[in-house]
Symmetry: C2
Subunit: 209 residues, 2 copies
């Protein structure tokens, strides 16, 4: 009896409304931006009543958390891909940084939700810095591959955190027009990102002096 429904399992009235709501939210996020992301608009987009989401999420914040979760997954995957495609350790490190910033620039609204949804909790979700395939752990592991002192746990965390701060600051700043002339002067956005990272010298910690 369970085998009749295979690909599309619609367990209840609507189907997987939880899934549909998250998709609708991400669709709205891309097309209308973060300010237009109201719970009612999401329900409208999904074709249900304004109160329907409350059977799948405690409140609006929990829906945004779910959207943010998928954002972190995307970011982690994109960075893993960048790391895998790079050959040298140097390329891996810069590739990770550039990949992070480009993700934020390619998905500005989603990137905003990822951090905003954690703001009041004052804690980023575990899969952003705890799980093995998280962006944080990938950078830390690459630092180790590059020869960082593994015994000095504090210093290693400090270096990884510093790199995260640099990448996040850059991701936030790049949306402002006032740096456009620098991008032009350097011949493109990626060159600008790389040059900025070079100034920040996030590789210093990775290279045993």
């Amino acid at each position: 009896m369970r085998e009749t429904v295979v690909a599309e399992n619609r367990p209840y009235h609507h189907g997987d409304l939880r899934r549909a709501l998250i998709d609708a939210a991400r669709r709205l996020l891309e097309s209308e931006g973060p300010t237009a992301l109201s719970l009612r608009a999401v329900a409208r987009e999904a074709g249900v009543s304004p109160a329907a989401p409350y059977h799948h999420f405690k409140d609006k914040g929990e829906l945004l958390d779910a959207v943010a979760h998928e954002g972190w997954d995307m970011l982690n995957a994109q960075m893993a891909k960048a790391k895998a495609e790079a050959t040298t350790i140097q390329d891996k490190l810069t590739g990770l940084g550039v990949s992070y910033v480009r993700f934020a620039q390619a998905n500005p609204a989603l990137y905003r939700v990822m951090y905003d949804s954690s703001r009041d909790k004052e804690e980023l979700p575990d899969h952003a810095h705890m799980e093995n395939d998280s962006a944080y752990c990938q950078v830390r592991d690459t630092f180790i591959e590059a020869g960082a002192d593994v015994t000095n746990e504090i210093d290693l965390e400090l270096a990884t955190n510093a790199a995260w701060c640099a990448a996040h600051g850059m991701a936030e700043m790049i949306s402002f027009k006032m740096f456009d002339h620098l991008k032009v002067a350097l011949g493109g956005e990626e060159a600008f990102i790389r040059a900025t990272f070079q100034h920040l010298g996030i590789f210093a910690a990775a290279q045993p002096r």
Copy 2:
């Protein structure tokens, strides 16, 4: 006739309502946080009707712009003080960075408004990076004092921008609890900030290699 009213000049019905609204907004921002900062709440706090602010600000965004403006002024002044109090060039640079991050940590709601109010405009206000006493110019000038190559305008801007990215990223990250153990391990928040900046090596550009 103008001399009768000296200290308290109440030009119209309420007095300087524009001033009062900005003050009310900043009061609410401190006590209730950024999410509680509705235009109606500000009007309530100032003791006027919900529509009264519209005679002094085009919309809510313009009121927030005014609040943000004062935030930038405060930040610029605090950084100028930090720079003045430092003796060596090294101290000036680190002092500027630490001062920036500590401002954000001491006034998290205001700091948020400063950037959020510029988000849709995609442009930070002039007095954040154009005027001589702006944070940006102070850092750039200190780079020059430290011996940066003045003829290479692009590189100088790039270095200043990189330092800004680092400081902003740090300012945003420091509110999350997950770095608390690092603060403890390093013996306090300021030590943590300094150590992170050291890892980012924002001074590299200032010291001619």
